[in-house]
């Protein structure tokens, strides 16, 4: 028959080419899966700090893999060596692939040299989540903070990444800020590179 291509069967799954595949997944499916992830972790821990750490660890694993995939697909195996380079990579490419849009803003911290902030009006993972009052400042965006930490760590820019709610005047819902604090060695290397 005309037009029927032959699909080459690969004996080893590692030999298969990294196809682009379907770009989009149902938001509801992801929301339910993420909700279950949070609920499962809630049963395993005693306090909120531990829950936040677990979500971050889950995100870390995602971040490391996303970096590998994106370096192969989008960047042609080129490595980022400069701080601003890796930050704009996270801010645009990673966000585009994961959430379908670039992050709202990338800012440098005014108080400390080693702090940078990625802000978003509302994180995709938080879209359907209302934090109960008794959980205080807990933010499920810790998962996204973990993803960012995973990407930065695997790229050679160790950092401490946290997610915060920042209340905005005139808005009912607070903005979310991912705060990235780079390690000493990163700043020293950056200074050396000029």
């Amino acid at each position: 028959m005309i037009g029927v291509g032959k699909i080459k069967q690969y004996s080893n799954v590692l030999d298969k080419p990294l196809a682009k595949g379907k770009q989009e997944v149902s938001l509801s499916a992801f929301a339910f899966l993420f909700s279950e992830l949070v609920q499962y972790n809630q049963t395993q821990v005693d306090n909120i700090a531990e829950l936040e750490r677990r979500l971050e660890d889950a995100g870390y694993a995602v971040g490391a893999r996303v970096l590998e995939l994106l370096c192969h697909r989008d960047k042609g195996n080129r490595r980022e060596t400069r701080l601003l380079g890796i930050l704009s990579f996270v801010h645009s490419t990673v966000w585009k692939v994961l959430f379908g849009k670039v992050a709202d803003s990338l800012e440098k911290g005014t108080e400390h040299e080693d702090e940078y902030m990625i802000s978003e009006k509302e994180l995709l993972v938080n879209r359907f989540i209302s934090i109960p009052k008794d959980m205080g400042t807990f933010n499920c965006g810790a998962f996204v903070a973990g993803i960012v930490r995973g990407v930065l760590d695997s790229a050679g820019f160790p950092a401490v990444v946290t997610a915060h709610f920042v209340p905005m005047e005139g808005q009912q819902r607070p903005r979310t800020t991912i705060l990235i604090k780079f390690a000493e060695e990163v700043l020293r290397r950056e200074a050396r590179l000029g």
Partner: protein, 165 residues
């Protein structure tokens, strides 16, 4: 014949709770959400008159749950899914039951249009902001900020569309 009388008696009974002279012409008087075992999980009053305290609203909810179940049995039509509309002198009660048995009912001004579609919108908000919330326990009272915010917006939009203001 007896079914007719039954419905009449029930609407009189409900009138005792909902009898009110609308002062601000709100199209919707109140919204209730009942879980599948008949417990009230959400209640919001919009009218300015005829407000009940918590105990009364709990009673009304379980009353309606039983009524709904009884009507399914009483119906002369096979495969009836329960009461969808109750019309009385001073109010209308529109009820929507999801496939899982959760009931959404709204008490409104007599003759208000488009309540069914409003109930469907509220059901969608429920599935989005309540069921996808990891901190919500199924069948428990709803305490989700996002649900409240979006519900208010939906009711507001509906009110503007209905009354033109």
């Amino acid at each position: 014949m007896s079914l007719f009388l039954f419905i009449l008696v029930i609407s009189r009974f409900f009138s005792i709770f909902f009898l009110q002279i609308p002062l601000d012409m709100a199209a919707i008087y109140s919204l209730y959400i009942i879980n599948k075992s008949g417990g009230l999980i959400f209640h919001k009053d919009y009218g300015s008159a005829g407000r009940m305290d918590t105990n009364d609203s709990l009673r009304v909810a379980s009353l309606w749950h039983s009524m709904h179940a009884i009507s399914q049995q009483l119906s002369p039509v096979v495969g009836c899914s329960g009461i969808e509309l109750l019309e009385a002198d001073t109010f209308d009660l529109h009820c929507f039951q999801s496939l899982t048995g959760t009931k959404f009912f709204v008490v409104s001004e007599p003759g208000t249009q488009h309540m069914e579609s409003l109930l469907k919108v509220i059901y969608e908000l429920y599935t989005d902001y309540v069921l996808k919330n990891p901190f919500y326990e199924i069948e428990m009272p709803i305490r989700c900020e996002l649900f409240d915010i979006h519900l208010t917006q939906a009711i507001q939009k509906d009110r503007v569309a209905l009354t033109g203001r």
